[in-house]
């Protein structure tokens, strides 16, 4: 699948923004000023980007607890996201959602989700709406190797096939459900092998390789848009940080992650490939690096200087409060 220069720059900006955002969150969280829990997506940028490059605001996605990357790739406002993570009233959800519940329905982002495996049924509904509207839109459910073992995921795969829905189920298999290895917890060889049981195409790709994800996603999304029904894509990938910030990661060898960062980093490899092909100039990428750094710096300043929600916000946004 041929990538245009503009698309290459767009993909690079998505991945770079996610990386900068997550690495900054890691630092901000360490200051103790950011409440709650954060699950970082760094290392997995090629997965969300490779999929989202094919989507518009009208296509809908569901995300996971590790949802910042999906939000950014789907077009959510980065300042609003940062403010949300700081629990500020200027946040995308007015400070009521937090890291695990960022949503922007106008962008087709149905929400990060604190419940593992909860997104796939919702995506069946979004896919059903698209099918009934006959508008060629698709719906994409992201889940991890942990979510791949949930009954909700199995039920949704079956329902999507039975109803012939324009849904794409994307398993980002980063090898670990918290501290449990997917080599142990997934009973079959690859998660994508399960697609056959539901009568749909399934493919396993290298989730560090933007081009592999982009190509597989293109096929699955085209199939769905043309009425061909659902597909399952498994992206095998690694997360650079722990399950959540503060995770000591006693379950894996730190040297292994250093080696993966050095040899398989999705942004480094993407950069090498598109510059060697002569598709984009290194200067253009460097310019994006600068803009991204400025964007994140501005988002942190915006979030930190924003007000917290007031007591009057506690009882609003629910139909009635007693």
């Amino acid at each position: 699948m041929q990538l245009s220069k503009d698309d290459a720059l767009r993909a690079y900006r998505m991945m770079k923004t996610i990386r900068e955002f997550e690495e900054r969150i890691q630092k901000e969280f360490a200051t103790g000023d950011m409440p709650g829990f954060v699950h970082l997506y760094a290392g997995e940028e090629a997965c969300g980007t490779g999929i989202m490059m094919h989507l518009t605001d009208e296509d809908r996605i569901s995300s996971t607890h590790r949802g910042h990357g999906h939000c950014i790739a789907k077009g959510c406002d980065v300042e609003g996201m940062m403010a949300e993570l700081f629990g500020k009233v200027t946040g995308l959800c007015r400070g009521k959602g937090g890291s695990m519940h960022i949503a922007d329905l106008d962008k087709g982002m149905l929400g990060a989700n604190g419940i593992v495996g909860a997104g796939s049924p919702l995506v069946c509904g979004a896919g059903l709406a698209a099918k009934l509207d006959g508008n060629g839109r698709v719906a994409v459910a992201f889940f991890g190797d942990g979510g791949s073992n949930q009954g909700t995921t199995f039920e949704s795969l079956n329902l999507a096939k039975v109803w012939n829905l324009p849904c794409i189920f994307v398993c980002e298999n980063n090898g670990w459900a918290e501290a449990t290895s997917s080599k142990w917890s997934v009973a079959c060889g690859n998660v994508a092998d399960r697609a056959g049981a539901f009568g749909m195409p399934g493919v396993t790709v290298d989730g560090h390789d933007f081009f592999a994800v982009y190509e597989a996603a293109g096929e699955a999304i085209e199939l769905a848009r043309s009425g061909g029904g659902p597909s399952l894509i498994e992206c095998q990938v690694n997360r650079y940080y722990g399950h959540e910030e503060g995770d000591a990661q006693t379950y894996r060898d730190p040297k292994e992650m250093v080696k993966i960062r050095e040899t398989r980093d999705c942004i480094v490899n993407f950069t090498r490939r598109v510059t060697e092909m002569g598709l984009v100039e290194p200067d253009a990428l460097a310019a994006i690096d600068g803009e991204t750094a400025t964007l994140i710096e501005g988002a942190v300043a915006f979030a930190r200087s924003s007000p917290e929600p007031g007591p009057e916000d506690l009882l609003t946004d629910v139909y009635i409060s007693y």
Binding site: G97, H101, I115, A118, C124, L128, T152, E155, L159, Y319
Partner: protein, 339 residues
Amino acid sequence: MARKISYRQAIIEALDQEMARDEKIIVMGEDVVGGAGTDMEDEAWGGPFGLTSGLYAKYGGDRIMDTPISESAFIGAAVGAASAGYRPVAELMFCDFLGVCFDQIYNQAAKFRYMFGGKATTPVVIRTAIGAGLRAAAQHSQSLHPIFTHVPGLKCVIPSSPYEAKGLLIASIRDNDPVIFCEHKALFETMGDVPEEPYAIPLGEANYVREGSDITIVTHGLMVTRAKEVAASLEGDGIDCEIIDLRTTSPLDEDTILESAENTGRVVVIDEATPRCNIAGDISSLVNEQLFGKLKAPVQRITAPHTPVPFSPALEDLWLPDNARIEQAIRDAVAYAGA
């Protein structure tokens, strides 16, 4: 113009009239068509209780659809479609099946609006059968409305008659929040006056079923019928009962409960659910908190015992609050002479 139809027919009529009004209303559930994918579609079931009977023939498979037995997936799909511009009505055949789909209801549908800063609406209705008395035993007889009522963001509706069934279902479908619509199985064939034209009964407004001056009976669903029977029988003894049908347990019409309780000074609450953390306990606490010192007798709670629903008719009849227990509680409250 009103004519007599059954509670079941009232539900079908509400669905039919709303589906005709708004093409974004879709219906899904196990066997709500019955026979999907076979040659028998035209003679479809319309649900195991016949509550969607005739809708497939009229609206077709894009408006009413069978699902696999996958409650998490299709309840979640209804919630997802509600987030994507549709107004789905999903049928959870028995409320007892809540255990295999609750996450999509209480963590997803109920929370979107608040959790997303007020920017999401989730206009989904989940119709579900509640109630004992049909010898359906422990896993098909429960009244789980207290669980739904407990969750902020969900509305919980319990119609007590054909009139309420139609008007409350229409209001639920038109509402922009997720509504759990609890249909009592023992009421499906009861008959009552129902206007032919569509009408909506506002959610959150209790109904004075009967006015009286000696004691207030607060209840809902099947127990409204029993309360009426008891109230009629006590008339001869000079006990004048007021009956309030809650219609919705969430939102709860606190004002009407307190107004009536203050007027009579005596309250009996009847709830078919098991006693801990149920509606009877909630209302008893509300009345005591607000009207302490104005009450002539302690608030009486009449509930099922804290056990699963038994199968044997001899036991189930003891389990379900009956007229004798209701009458005794009323007599005790009226006769109460102080500590």
